[in-house]
Amino acid sequence: MWACLGIGLAISLSVVGAAWGILTTGASILGGGVKAPRIKTKNLISIIFCEAVAIYGIIMAIVITNNIGSFNQYTDSEDAVLKSYQAGYKMFAAGLTVGVCNISCGICVGIVGSGAALADAQNSTLFVKILIIEIFGSAIGLFGVIVSILQIAGSKIGTD
């Protein structure tokens, strides 16, 4: 149960973050694009940064899923049973880590991207500067992925 909850949280929270970001940025791009149509193509980069967050989530979910196996708490050796319980908790933690990191990263990139679009609509030299801020925001999602890979390393439910 814990492992599966972790997988569920990994993918669902990441997707919520990405979706929220795309919502914010997309609304601004569409709004700004009414008066300044030139911003439309360039600002799709912000959308791609948001989407990357969702991709981190699904990669982690698949990595965690590969470690799930089956065990029998009544007949397996004590070692196998304890290792399986430990692996379950680790997977929950890994999923939670990547999920929460990605949801905040997604929201952050979304709000910054929204600002970038509106600033670009006013003054096209501002876009590149704001993009740097967005890259910093995107890096924190990557931190979440790295930490959760470290948590999941070597743990396996079941003995096969």
């Binding site: 009544y74 007949t75 397996d76 004590e78 070692d79 049973v81």
Partner: protein, 483 residues
Amino acid sequence: MIPNVKMSQMLIFGVLFTFFMLVNTDKTPALIWSPNRPLSGLSPSYAGETIQADHFLDNYLTPLTTDPAQSLIVFVQNKLSVEDFTKHADVYNPNSDGGAFRNVKAAMDENFSVHLPEIASPTSAVQKLSTSFTGERVTVDSPTDLENMDLKPGTQYLIIISLKPISGKDEFSEFKMNDEDIGKCLHHLSRRGLQYSAVYTAEASQVSEEAVHSGRQLLAAEDAADNTTYNGTFYNVQNVLMYLQYVNLTITRKAIGAGKPRLETYQWNFKTPNITVEQCNDTINGSLDCVATPHGDYNALRINMTFDNSNGTANLRFTIKQTDNMGSQWKSTRGTVDLTPSSEGVTLTGMDVDYNIESIRGFCFHCARLYTKPSVRNFTSNATVYPSDVEKITLTMTRFQIEVSFNTSKGLGGRDFTNTSIPFSTDVWECVEFFTVPIWMGIISTLFLILILFYGLTMIANITTMDRFDDPKAKTITVTVNE
């Protein structure tokens, strides 16, 4: 004191209590009413109480016949139950007229009446009354016979009317017909000016017995390999009560070459057990001092069970100790198991085995599937296992129940098992806790999803109309519509 209680309320009352009881085909309700004699003197029926036939005779039927001017009419059907009232008397309609029991309902509502929801074999009480009745006895098969009879008011009659049997094909109309017969009879009696009390009852309720599922079903044991209905055997062995169905021993050996791991399985049943129980005391250096003859003063019991069948012999030994000096709690300690196969197989000698058998005074221990503790599942020691390619050994006991008692001689409680027919205590210490792990898994996952749902519902509830650009002072927009 139940005069004039509404029939529908009593029926619902009766239905609720019947629902919680295993229905016995001999228990039927009885409705008693009388237009002139108050029935408040009859003792009330308590909730869930089954009135026995003698009690019914003494407390209800006989008082109705004490007055020499008062007759007693008994309508007897073959089948009547509270469920029949629920199904056919239109009880859920506040303005109902009784459905198939219209005349009976009218009689119960308008006259003094009493409803007895459960009587065990009322017809035997009626028969007893009829043999001891001093007035005139009349047995009638149909209301037309009653019509033709000459009944003198002032004489005490006992009229037993057998209503048409309910066959079950169309119960509603059959009950309705019988009800109309009852109505006709009552009409005849009142026309002749007879003073009477009426009883409406039946021989049996004949409702199919529902299997009452009490308790929870955990760990449904597979009976695939067992075609006979052997359910386990109970033994009382020197003050230890034990019940066991099977002992299963499964040994997994390494696969030869590229095949699957080899399994050796043994299953012993408990039909002819070979158990010895020794009463032991702890010695100073921690070992046990055991004697085979019981002497009543012990703080540990060493149990030695031998299982024998054509596949092999196993010998299981473990000790049950009290955890304090009062005998208020006892636990099993690590034991050993030996296995001698009758043909080629794995031999075990002195292999450790440890179960979580524990309970408290006055309770027995029960486990549907008893597995060994994880700490003894590691079989890397070659000294006790021959040959050495064994990967896993599992020893489980199916449907195991045990009760021991300490300090019976000191009078500190504990049950005395010297009487060999004493059963287990009704209090059970189960090996599976009430909230099992799967239940918690379900609860947590469901709770999590419900939280998400509530978050979403909150967001939907916070949707508001965009009014940022509304200006109350500006002209309202009008849109002309061309028809």
